[in-house]
Amino acid sequence: MRRLSFRAAAVVVAVAVAGAGCSSTQATRAPLPPPPQVVHVTIDDHHYAYDTTIHAGRTVFVGHNVGRATHTILLYAVGDDLPPVNVQIHGDKRHQVEGFAGTRVKPGATNSFAVDLVPKQRYYMLDFDRDSDNKIFALDGLDSEFRTR
């Protein structure tokens, strides 16, 4: 009887300790969702700097403004019939394109926006904010374009 109670107590303790150590046994599950693609865009007063290898799907553009003025990242989905962005922006005949998405970033600040990019699509990236001479920054280097993979 004494031996039995000792063993019973030992078994109960062992089970309780094991239970305390294995509080969350997790079943096998599908892989976790991947993070979205993140494109970091460094903006100075004359240039967007970013990796133009961009894939389709959910993409977060994170703008870091290292310039002295407030800047905007504006994306436009454009067709292949449009000229290169610098030709379009500096040309006499501008085509009307509809804004897609974007964000405004104050000097020294970071701001972001998310988009669902379409495969093989061409996008302009432009800044239509104006400098102290009332000239749009897009005419002064803040124009860029990329095509999604």
């Binding site: 000792f6 030992a10 969702p33 991947p34 989905a77 405004r104 998310a114």
Partner: protein, 529 residues
């Protein structure tokens, strides 16, 4: 004289008595040892729940977009609901509503606990007869199955034609064909899953049932709040039971939450005599009072008790845009703690107010302001959302226009209470850029013509030492589009040593040593005999 090998009867008796006495002494020793070890094991088990209370916000993370913008379409994303997989807290989903350019619904997924988001498509094909998906709810069962509930809308008047349930067992990659779980004339459908009941969890639904097809508001007849549950993953549901008190005619906007012991808690508004908002007719803001009423089911949703008035002096802030999408009170339930929050103009302008009960909802503390700006400045605080962390911390989130003298731009603020809602910490701004409360779809009905739709809830997911918060955000909107932004807030207290765990280890060790020593002494005792 007697030989040392010969025992007299008296000696024998004395020895037996001595052995029995030793055995009696060891009995309690074994019991004490076992009890010590068991207590230590129990302490180890609950030690995560006994972590130190937070002392303040240590870090507000970078706020990030959880939804995608497309100005050409102008999606109005709002009403986020955050839910975490109970088996893996890294997997978090956000169900949200769209009010523009047309009614719709969406789902975002996160594999890093709410730090980043990708889209999912829970309803790739609408059920027959439904033209739009709206007002989604999300919940997990114990196995990690994700349930997504939505209301199907049809016709020019966007009449609900049923509530549908779909689910995913592969973390949102694919979803089952939506199954109709409620017919037409059912509004404000809420869902929650009790993971501890049945094979993998009990799905609870609560909704407002209209007795006849409503127009801008409900018909002037009782339209009760009902509830039902399913123990077979939504294949069948129990017969609906009435949740709201039969004596209350104008009950709307139910909130549903689950408490310990499988308690089902529901809170709803009783509009009193406010037929103007109830029926959606024109007129100024109601100058009477509304009530928030709570009721509980202690038998897993089979019966609900008589409603208890949480507060009966609620001053409406403005007209209700659509009685079917009216923001419900926010409701959370913990161990005996029950708290509700709502928007209220009793102090002269909109405030986020709340009350807590410490006896499971029978009696309620006095009303508390969740926002800590000065009273009566005219700045609005609204759409409060409560959540309860595992350690008992009460978290609150609300929209706040205190920083804009024109009362138009809003920020998202967070506060918390560690004493069950009696006192709240200083409010903390979470967003890095304000939003414009005049960007969004404007309501076209006569009841609240011109008001901007910003949804019926905020997203708040409480963890032991952090929260994830989500809110409608217009910082990137050139037109009327709305994003949902989210961020993580870290709270102090997470790095303190868990003394309860150390004590647990010590108790287990002491218990085991005592048991072993007691076991080793037994043969010696026998030899002596």
């Amino acid at each position: 004289m007697f030989s040392e090998n010969v025992l007299t009867a008296k000696d024998q008796h004395l020895l037996e008595a001595s052995t029995a006495s030793a055995s009696r002494r060891r009995g309690p020793a074994v019991a004490v040892a076992a009890l010590a070890a068991l207590a230590g094991a129990a302490l180890l088990t609950i030690s995560p729940m006994l972590a130190a209370s937070p002392t303040g916000v240590t870090r507000v993370g970078t706020d990030i977009p959880a939804t995608a913008m497309d100005e050409a379409v102008g999606p109005d994303n709002n009403s986020p609901a955050l839910v975490a997989d109970p088996g893996d807290s890294r997997f978090v989903v956000m169900a949200n509503r769209l009010d523009g350019p047309d009614f719709s619904c969406a789902l975002q997924l996160s594999g890093d606990g709410g730090g980043s988001w990708i889209p999912a498509n829970p309803v790739p094909k609408l059920p027959k007869g439904a033209e739009k998906c709206y007002a989604p709810e999300a919940a997990f069962d114990r196995s990690g199955r994700l349930y997504y509930l939505f209301v199907g809308l049809a016709g020019g008047g966007n009449q609900p034609m049923g509530a549908f349930l779909t689910s995913s067992v592969d973390r949102g990659r694919t979803f089952s064909t939506p199954r109709k779980v409620l017919g037409p004339l059912n509004f404000s459908v809420r869902m929650a899953v009790d993971p501890a009941v049945g094979r993998s969890g009990r799905i609870h639904l609560v909704w407002v049932h209209a007795s006849s097809p409503p127009a801008a508001g409900f018909a002037p007849v009782p339209n009760p709040i009902l509830a039902a549950y399913s123990d077979d993953s939504g294949a069948t549901f129990s017969r609906p039971v009435t949740v709201s008190d039969p004596t209350r005619d104008m009950v709307v906007a139910p909130a549903l939450t689950l408490g310990p012991g499988h308690a089902v808690q529901v809170a709803y508004y009783d509009l009193g005599n406010d037929a103007r908002d109830y029926q959606g007719v024109e007129g100024p803001t109601w100058d009477g009072r509304w009530s928030v009423v709570s009721t509980t089911s202690l038998d897993g949703g089979r019966h609900f008790g008589r409603g208890v008035v949480v507060d009966d002096a609620i001053v409406p802030v403005e007209r209700v845009m659509l009685i079917f999408t009216m923001p419900p009170p926010s409701l959370v339930a913990g161990r005996r703690l029950l708290c509700a929050a709502w928007t209220d103009a009793r102090y002269g302008d909109a405030d986020a107010l709340g009350r807590c009960s410490h006896d499971g909802g029978r009696r309620w503390d006095g009303v508390r302001r969740l926002n800590d700006d000065r009273k009566g400045t005219g700045a609005r605080q609204y759409l409060p959302r409560l959540a309860l962390a595992p350690g008992g911390r009460l978290d609150a989130l609300f929209l706040d226009r205190r920083n804009d003298p024109f009362n138009r731009l809003y920020d998202t603020y967070y506060t918390f209470s560690t004493d069950g809602g009696r006192r709240f910490a200083a409010s903390r701004k979470l967003d890095s850029a304000p939003s414009n409360s005049t960007k969004g779809s404007q309501y076209a009905g006569v009841a609240a013509n011109g008001q901007y739709e910003f949804g019926s809830r905020l997203g708040l997911l409480s963890r032991r030492h952090s929260v994830v918060a989500a809110w409608p955000d217009t910082r990137n909107s050139n037109g009327h589009a709305q994003d949902v932004f989210a961020t993580r807030v870290d709270l102090a207290g997470g790095t303190r040593p868990r003394w309860s765990a150390l004590i647990g280890v010590a108790l287990v060790a002491v218990g085991v040593v005592l048991l072993v020593r007691s076991r080793r002494r037994q043969p010696m005792d026998r030899g002596e005999a």
